[in-house]
């Protein structure tokens, strides 16, 4: 059965690590639906959030093979109900449209979006939410002419109390300590 999984990869900051990660998708002919990378709460440790649709057995093997890469510290995969996730979208419409129409403001309010910038030419709007929510806003703004639209990849946190990696890193540090002693 094909399901959606959110894979989180914690890695060292090394050149080529993204390539080493994506190779494992390529070799299975798996498509990456969304990818976000940034420094994690731990300095120097980078977090990749990857969304993929595949079978459970596939993601289990995939995650183990990612974990095996030397510079990957730890990889987890989570099901839809185990993560809290958001995407951010930005929309640009003509300011004249915004002023002339009496509906746009209502749409923005309804979607809990916010206005980032207003110039003579354009108005930039931001909305965070799940993909279908940012898509809905896009669909509603479309008739008024959307000059630009962009959506980020997914960012996600687990529904567990603590970051999965923290405990693991603590263990690793202990391991290093004991090896030194």
């Amino acid at each position: 059965m094909i399901e959606e999984f959110t894979i989180t990869v914690f890695s060292e900051n090394s050149i080529g690590i993204l390539n080493r990660i994506t190779i494992n998708f390529t070799k299975r002919k798996l498509n990456i639906d969304s990818l976000t990378v940034s420094e994690s709460a731990i300095k120097g440790v980078y977090k990749f959030t990857i969304v993929v649709k595949c079978a459970l057995a596939t993601v289990e093997n995939l995650v183990k093979q990612l974990d095996k890469q030397i510079e990957i510290i730890r990889t987890f995969f989570l099901r839809e109900n185990e993560v809290l996730h958001q995407e951010m979208a930005m929309y640009k419409i003509e300011t004249s449209t915004f002023l002339e129409s009496n509906q746009v403001e209502g749409i923005i309010r309804k979607h809990n979006a916010r206005i980032l910038e207003v110039t003579k030419e354009y108005t930039a709007i931001e909305k965070t939410g799940h993909k279908h929510e940012t898509q809905e806003l896009f669909e509603e703004l479309k008739p008024f002419g959307v000059l630009q639209f962009v959506r980020s990849g997914r960012v996600a946190i687990t529904r567990l109390k603590k970051e999965l990696l923290s405990e693991y890193l603590e263990k690793l540090e202990k391991r290093e300590m004991s090896e030194e002693n």
Binding site: S11, E12, G16, N19, I23, D67, I70
Partner: protein, 579 residues
């Protein structure tokens, strides 16, 4: 900004001295106790080659005739010795010529460190002469790789490379070094790498798993132990022997596990897999417990996965977590180094003999002997068979030789019929099935083990893929013995065409040079045998020689390797070919 030293845990031992990057590389190799390297020079690696002249008494460089020869030689070197194989190549084509060997080493867990020259760092990404992104190209087939662009990075990169290549599940590592980093000066100080934060080479063993395994083993009525290369890589041959002798559990080997237990051991039942022995394959599906030791349930071993060992509980001793449940779901996983974990299990299990179960193998063995082996080893008419050559080789070498094969029918025949006595005596390309592997790997093995008799067995097809290494063998007087089993076909493909492609022999008939004359042109002695009455004496002459020697044997053109588990069949559906 990444730095190579970022997460390196190292042991300090030296004071520093000012040297070039090239010196730093060579001194690092010396610090890792490397004495032999295989390679081929070219533009981007020239500064290293230049400095190699200053260390000739400490590092022996073997100039091969092709980079592929260098890497397969390094593989053979590593496999016979258990040490890290090292090779050196230039940028661009030099580097890409290593890729097949790297991929092969990756599949077969062979510890290698490969160094490639790279264009000056300011030229990176400009499509400069002989520039190839070898870090990118080699990424899917290396355990780790790294590009060095400054002399300071060389020593820590080498330290990390050797640590990664040899620890845990071994594998190939590639270090790409820009030419400016070789020329630049650096304060050299070598610190061995002993720990990398993000890398756990040997996963923790859970005591409860050992307990569970012991319970399963003690209660099993029909247990079968499967030995893979993990046992060899971990040096657990003695632990294996103690375990099976205490428990009386019969043992079968994968292709790469061969020689971990001597063939004449009373508990040894033969080779698993597509062309393995009938009894261990059939008995896999009768067993009530499978004990997998450092093996990965390769598809050539399992046959049809859904019908594999359906009656058995399974225990998997494994160092690489990603192999667990990958193909076969197991009941108990014992992570860790099999040398350690198996010894722990042996201590706790109850002695047993499993006499009835072991005796039940005999009936199938007898079938295989009468229906396949007898005909293969002792044909009285017709052309010489491959098995016959192996029989004479067994008689003459008494199982003491290191057998290095290429890929194809001869490989299966050699693995089936050679009677290994000593550990680390079988070197072959298993996972990747690389034709052309045999000859250079045998050369590397002979260089690593000068006091052992190394016999390369190839077919006429594979031999022609890397036969340029006759030049290296001749120049260095490597006393390797080369048997070419010539059937004028790419035999294994031809066999499949016969069985599965309506006997349409597309591009498998192949002509060859006169191998003996070819070798003679390199100054290598040899003999060609076409008549069975000359075979024994010719092999004797070859084995008595202290020089390199080639023996070409004209063998049956359309011989097939049996038994065989046809693709898609279960292991117990093995056929003898006379059905």
């Amino acid at each position: 900004m990444e730095t190579i030293t970022l997460d390196n845990k190292t042991t300090k031992n030296k004071t520093s001295k000012r040297v070039s990057g090239s010196d730093a590389l060579i001194l690092s190799l010396i610090a890792e106790n490397v004495k032999t390297i295989f390679g081929y020079p070219g533009g981007a690696i020239m500064p290293v080659y230049d400095k190699l002249m200053d260390y000739e008494d400490q590092i022996h460089h073997i100039l091969t005739r092709h980079e592929q020869g260098a890497i397969h030689a390094a593989q053979g070197f590593a496999r016979v010795s258990g040490e890290v194989g090292v090779c050196l190549a230039t940028s661009g084509p030099g580097a890409t010529n290593l890729i097949t060997g790297i991929a092969d080493a990756f599949m077969d867990s062979t510890p290698l460190v490969c160094f490639t020259g790279q264009v000056y760092s300011h030229l990176l990404g400009t499509d400069a002469f002989q520039e190839t992104d070898v870090v990118g190209v080699s990424m899917p087939v290396t355990k780790w790789n790294f590009q060095v662009t400054s002399a300071e990075e060389i020593a820590p990169a080498v330290a990390k490379a050797f640590y990664i290549a040899r620890s845990g599940r071994p594998g190939p590592v590639l270090i790409d070094i820009t030419k400016d980093a070789m020329f630049a000066e650096v304060d050299f100080c070598y610190e061995k790498c002993t720990n990398i934060r993000s890398y756990i080479p040997v996963p923790e063993t859970k005591d409860v798993r050992i307990q569970q395994a012991v319970e399963l083993i003690d209660n099993a009525k029909r247990p079968l132990a499967l030995v893979g290369q993990g046992v060899v890589l971990s040096g657990a041959e003695q632990e294996l022997k103690e375990f099976v002798e205490k428990t009386g559990i019969p043992v079968a080997s994968t292709l790469l596990g061969l020689s971990a237990l001597p063939n004449n051991h009373e508990l040894y039942t033969g080779m698993l897999g597509m062309h393995g022995n009938a009894a261990p394959n059939i008995k896999t599906n009768e067993a009530d417990l499978i004990i997998a030791l450092g093996m990965r349930f390769d598809d050539r071993v399992t046959g049809k996965v859904s019908a594999y060992a359906p009656n058995a509980k399974k225990i998997h001793f494994e160092i690489d977590k990603s192999e667990v449940h990958k193909i076969i779901k197991v009941d108990v996983t014992i992570l860790g180094d099999v040398k350690d974990t198996l010894a722990r299990v042996t201590k706790l299990v109850s002695p047993n003999a499993h006499v009835v179960w072991r005796n039940s193998f005999k009936f199938i063995d007898d079938q295989e002997t009468s229906r396949v082996i007898q005909k293969e080893l002792n044909p009285e008419t017709g052309q010489i068979s491959m098995g016959e050559v192996l029989r004479h080789l067994n008689e003459i070498t008494e199982g003491e030789a290191v057998i290095v094969t290429d890929v194809g029918q001869h490989q299966m025949v050699a693995s089936r019929y050679y009677k290994f006595k000593n550990k680390r005596s079988f070197i072959t390309s298993g996972g990747l099935g690389t034709m052309g592997y045999g000859l250079p790997a045998a050369m590397g093995a002979q260089i690593a083990a000068p006091h052992r008799k190394v016999v390369s067995i190839s077919g006429d097809g594979g031999f022609q893929m890397t036969m340029q290494e006759l030049g290296t063998i001749a120049f260095n007087k490597v006393p390797v013995k080369m048997i070419v089993l010539n059937n004028d076909y790419l035999g294994m493909v031809r066999q499949w065409q016969e069985l599965f492609f309506d006997k349409r022999y597309s591009s498998t008939s192949i002509t060859s040079p006169d191998f003996v004359k070819l070798a003679a042109s390199y100054g290598i002695d040899g003999q060609k045998v076409t008549d069975r009455k000359d075979l024994h004496a010719a092999i004797q002459k070859m084995m008595d020689s202290t020089e390199p020697f080639i023996l070409e044997v004209a063998v049956e053109a359309k011989g097939n390797v049996y038994p065989m588990i046809p693709t898609g069949s279960a292991v117990n559906e093995i056929v003898f070919g006379d059905e």
